[in-house]
C-alpha cells in the first residue's frame, strides 16, 4: 500500500509515518500544499492523507484540483477544526472521509483501510459471505450455517457494513456515521449495546464467534 501524507505539522507527520510504517504501508511525506499537489498528481498512490490547513495551497484546494484533473485516489482529510460545515466543504471538494484532530491512530488506520476497500469493489454485490454467514442483499435475508437469522432493518445495515469490511477494524464513530448517518458524539457507548444484540443473534448459538471486539478501537468481523 502506497500512501501520500500531506501534513505540515512535523510531530503529527512523524507520528503518522511511524504508525503507517508499522502497518506495512509505504508512505511519502510532503509538508507543503503546492509540492503535495505535484507529488499526488505525479505518483501512483493508493490513498492520500491531506491536512486541511497547509502552507502554499490548502487541502481543499489540492483535492479540488486533483478531482478536476480526473484523479480518483481516495482522500482522507485531517482537520483541527472539526465542524460540520468544514466537513461538508471537504467532502464536497472530493474528499472521501474526514477525520478531526486529535484522533487515535487506530481510528485513522481503520478509516484508511475502509477507503482502500471502497476503491476496490466496483461491481455491486448481491450476496456477502463471511465464513458460514451469508447475507442476501436483495432478499435482505441472513443465514448462518444454513439457519435463518431474523434481523431488524438497522441490525441488517450494521451487519452489512461489518461484513463489507470483514477483516478490518471498524470504529464506533465509523458505525455511527455509516450505519446511523449522524455525526455526533454520544456520551455513552450506545453502539456497544447494538453490537451485543447483533452478537446475540449471529454468534450466540454458533461457533466460532465472528464478531470480535478490538479493545479500545472498535469491532471486527472475521471468519476463522
Amino acid at each position: 500500500m502506497r500512501v501520500l501524507l500531506i501534513e505540515d505539522d512535523r510531530q503529527t507527520a512523524d507520528y503518522l509515518l511511524k504508525g503507517l510504517a508499522e502497518t506495512g504501508a509505504v508512505t511519502d511525506h510532503v509538508a507543503d500544499g503546492r509540492a503535495g499537489l505535484l507529488q499526488a498528481a505525479g505518483g501512483e498512490y493508493d490513498a492520500l492523507i491531506v491536512d486541511r490547513m497547509l502552507p502554499g495551497l490548502d487541502g481543499v484546494g489540492i483535492v479540488r484540483t486533483l478531482r478536476a484533473s480526473g484523479n480518483r485516489t481516495p482522500v482522507l482529510f485531517l482537520s483541527a477544526l472539526g465542524e460540520v460545515d468544514d466537513r461538508v466543504e471537504g467532502l464536497r471538494a472530493g474528499g472521501d472521509d474526514y477525520l478531526v484532530k486529535p484522533f487515535a491512530f487506530s481510528e485513522l488506520h481503520a478509516r484508511l483501510e475502509a477507503l482502500l476497500r471502497r476503491g476496490k469493489s466496483d461491481t455491486p454485490e448481491t450476496c456477502l459471505r463471511v465464513a458460514d454467514l451469508e447475507m442476501d442483499l436483495l432478499k435482505r435475508e441472513v443465514t448462518r450455517a444454513g439457519r435463518e437469522i431474523r434481523l431488524q432493518p438497522r441490525e441488517f445495515r450494521l451487519l452489512e457494513y461489518l461484513v463489507r469490511h470483514a477483516g478490518q477494524v471498524v470504529t464506533r464513530t465509523m458505525l455511527l456515521e455509516q450505519v446511523w448517518d449522524y455525526h455526533f458524539d454520544p456520551q455513552t457507548n450506545v453502539i456497544d449495546v447494538h453490537i451485543s444484540r447483533l452478537r446475540g443473534k449471529i454468534d450466540k448459538d454458533f461457533d466460532p464467534p465472528l464478531l470480535q471486539t478490538m479493545r479500545g478501537v472498535g469491532y471486527m468481523i472475521r471468519g476463522a
Binding site: 510531530q11 483541527a80 472539526g82 486529535p102 491512530f105 446511523w180 449522524y182 450506545v190 449495546v193
Partner: protein, 474 residues
C-alpha cells in the same frame, strides 16, 4: 414557560412602537407647548383688535352721554330734545341710536321706537337688538348702548349699531381659530415626521443589534453620512462592535490554539500508550495500567473537545449551514438508537410524534442535543423506569418533550444545571463531564429554541420549544 404565544402583526407593533417612542411623546409635548403659546398669542391679538374696537365704541358713547347730560343740566329737557333731534337728523343711516324716555318709558326724543326689553348691567351697559325699518322687510341687528338716568326720572339711552363691529370681530375670531387649528395640525405632522425619522434610525440600530446578538458579529450599523449625532452614535457603536469582534476572534483564536497545541500532544500520549499496550503483551498488570491511563487521557480529550465544541457552537458560525430538518425521522432514529440502552436497564423508551415537525437547523447538532437529553434521562432513571419522548406540532412551532421517571431536578437547581461543569452532588458518582447539558443549551440557543426543566417528584420533564421557522412548504 408562557402559554400559547401569538405574534402580533408587524403593523400593530410598529404603530404601538411609534406611540410608545420617546421621540413621539416629546413631539406631542412640544405640540402642546406650542399650542398653548400660540393660544396666548392669539388671545393677545384678539384683545388688541376686537377689544380695541369695543373700547373705542364704549369711550365714544360715554363721551356723548357726558355731553348730553351737560346739555340737560344747562338747557333742560327742551335743550336736550333739540340736541338729540339735531344729531338724529345728522345721521340718516341710523348707526347712532338715541332714546330719551320719561319714567313711564314714553318716548320723548330719539330715533328708537321703544325702550329695549333687555336689562342693563351694573354700569348701565346694554346689548339689544335694533330693528331697522327697511322698505319691504324688517331687519334686526345688534346694538350696544349705555343707559343714563337724568334728574326728574328721565332715562337716556345712547347706543351704536355694532353690526360692522360684530362682523369684524367674527372675522378676526375665525382667522384666529383657523390659525390655531393649522398650527396644531402642523405641529402634529411635524412631530410625527420627526419621531418617524428618529424611529427609523433607531430601528436600524436596533435591527443591527438584534442581528449581532443572533450571532452575526460582522454586522455594522449603516451611517448616512450626515455626521449628525445619530451618525456619531452609530460610529461609536460600530467602533465598540469592532473591539468586541476583535476580542471574540481573539478568544476563538485562543480556543483554536488550545485545540491545536494541547489536543495534539494529548492524542500522541494516547496513541503512544496504545503502542505501549501492544508491546506489553507479556505483563498483564502493566497492560491494564496502560489501558486505564488511555481511558483517563480519553476522558480529558472528551472534556476538551466538548468545551471547544460548545465555544464554537456559541459563536453561531454554524447557522450558515442551517437547512430544513424533519424531527420525525430524527427522533425515530434517536429512539431506535437508544432503545437497546434503555432496554438493558429494564427501562421503556417510547416515542410519540404528532403532526409535521419541521424546523430550520443543523441535523447533526439537533441529534446531538436530543441524544444528550435522552442519554441523561436513561442515566438518571432507575432500572424499570419509563422514558417518554414526544414531538408535537404547535401553532407557533414544534415542541419536543422528554419525560423520565427519575429523581428529577429540584427547582432551585434547574437553571444552574445548564451551566458549564455543573453537576448536582448526588450525580457526582455517575460518569460525565458536566458539559452535556451546556452543549444542549448551546445548540438550542443557536436554533433560538427554548429549554425548560420541569416536572414534579415523579420525574424530570424537559420541554424544548422551537419557534416557527418559517417552514418552507413541504
Amino acid at each position: 414557560m408562557s402559554e400559547a404565544w401569538h405574534p402580533p402583526s408587524a403593523l400593530r407593533v410598529r404603530a404601538a412602537n411609534t406611540l410608545r417612542s420617546s421621540t413621539f411623546r416629546l413631539a406631542v409635548l412640544y405640540m402642546l407647548l406650542l399650542g398653548v403659546s400660540v393660544g396666548i398669542l392669539m388671545a393677545f391679538l384678539y384683545w388688541s383688535t376686537a377689544g380695541y374696537m369695543d373700547r373705542q365704541t364704549a369711550a365714544t358713547i360715554e363721551a356723548e352721554i357726558r355731553g348730553l347730560a351737560e346739555q340737560y343740566r344747562r338747557r333742560g329737557l327742551p335743550g336736550l330734545s333739540s340736541v338729540i333731534s339735531e344729531r338724529v337728523a345728522r345721521d340718516p343711516v341710523g348707526s347712532n341710536v338715541y332714546l330719551l324716555v320719561d319714567d313711564n318709558l314714553e318716548r320723548l326724543a330719539g330715533n328708537l321706537d321703544r325702550w329695549p326689553n333687555e336689562f342693563p348691567d351694573s354700569e348701565g351697559w346694554i346689548r339689544f337688538r335694533l330693528r331697522e325699518r327697511g322698505p319691504d322687510r324688517a331687519e334686526e341687528h345688534a346694538a350696544r348702548g349705555q343707559v343714563f338716568l337724568l334728574r326728574g326720572g328721565l332715562r337716556l339711552l345712547v347706543g351704536r349699531d355694532v353690526r360692522d363691529l360684530e362682523a369684524t370681530r367674527a372675522l378676526i375670531l375665525d382667522a384666529l381659530a383657523w390659525g390655531l387649528a393649522i398650527t396644531a395640525a402642523l405641529a402634529l405632522l411635524g412631530g410625527w415626521l420627526m419621531s418617524a425619522g428618529v424611529m427609523r434610525r433607531l430601528e436600524t440600530i436596533n435591527q443591527t443589534a438584534g442581528e449581532i446578538m443572533a450571532g452575526d458579529l460582522s454586522r455594522r450599523i449603516p451611517l448616512d453620512g450626515s455626521g449628525d449625532d445619530f451618525d456619531e452614535l452609530a460610529a461609536n457603536l460600530n467602533r465598540m462592535l469592532e473591539r468586541i469582534e476583535q476580542l471574540m476572534v481573539g478568544v476563538r483564536q485562543v480556543s483554536d490554539n488550545i485545540a491545536h497545541d494541547l489536543r495534539t500532544p494529548l492524542t500522541r500520549v494516547r496513541t503512544k500508550l496504545e503502542l505501549l499496550c501492544t508491546e506489553l503483551d507479556g505483563c498483564e498488570s502493566a497492560r491494564s495500567l496502560a489501558a486505564e491511563t488511555i481511558a483517563d487521557a480519553e476522558e480529558m480529550l472528551a472534556t476538551f473537545n466538548a468545551l471547544l465544541r460548545i465555544a464554537r457552537i456559541e459563536s453561531g458560525a454554524r447557522r450558515a449551514a442551517f437547512a430544513c430538518v424533519d424531527l420525525r425521522p430524527l427522533t425515530e432514529d434517536l429512539a431506535e438508537l437508544y432503545e437497546p440502552l434503555a432496554a438493558e436497564k429494564g427501562q421503556s423508551l417510547t416515542l410519540r410524534v404528532e403532526g409535521p415537525a419541521r424546523v430550520m437547523g443543523d441535523r447533526d447538532l439537533l441529534f446531538q442535543a436530543l441524544a444528550n437529553l435522552v442519554d441523561n434521562a436513561i442515566k438518571y432513571t432507575s432500572p424499570g423506569g419509563a422514558i417518554a419522548l414526544a414531538v408535537a406540532s404547535q401553532e407557533d412551532g414544534v415542541m419536543v418533550t422528554i419525560r423520565d421517571s427519575g429523581p428529577g431536578i429540584p427547582p432551585h437547581a434547574r437553571e444552574r444545571v445548564l451551566d458549564r461543569f455543573v453537576r448536582l452532588d448526588d450525580s457526582r458518582s455517575t460518569p460525565g463531564s458536566g458539559l452535556g447539558l451546556s452543549l444542549v443549551k448551546a445548540v438550542l440557543d443557536l436554533h433560538q429554541a427554548s429549554i425548560a426543566l420541569g416536572g414534579e417528584a415523579d420525574g424530570l420533564l424537559v420541554t424544548v420549544r422551537f419557534r416557527d421557522a418559517r417552514q418552507p412548504a413541504a
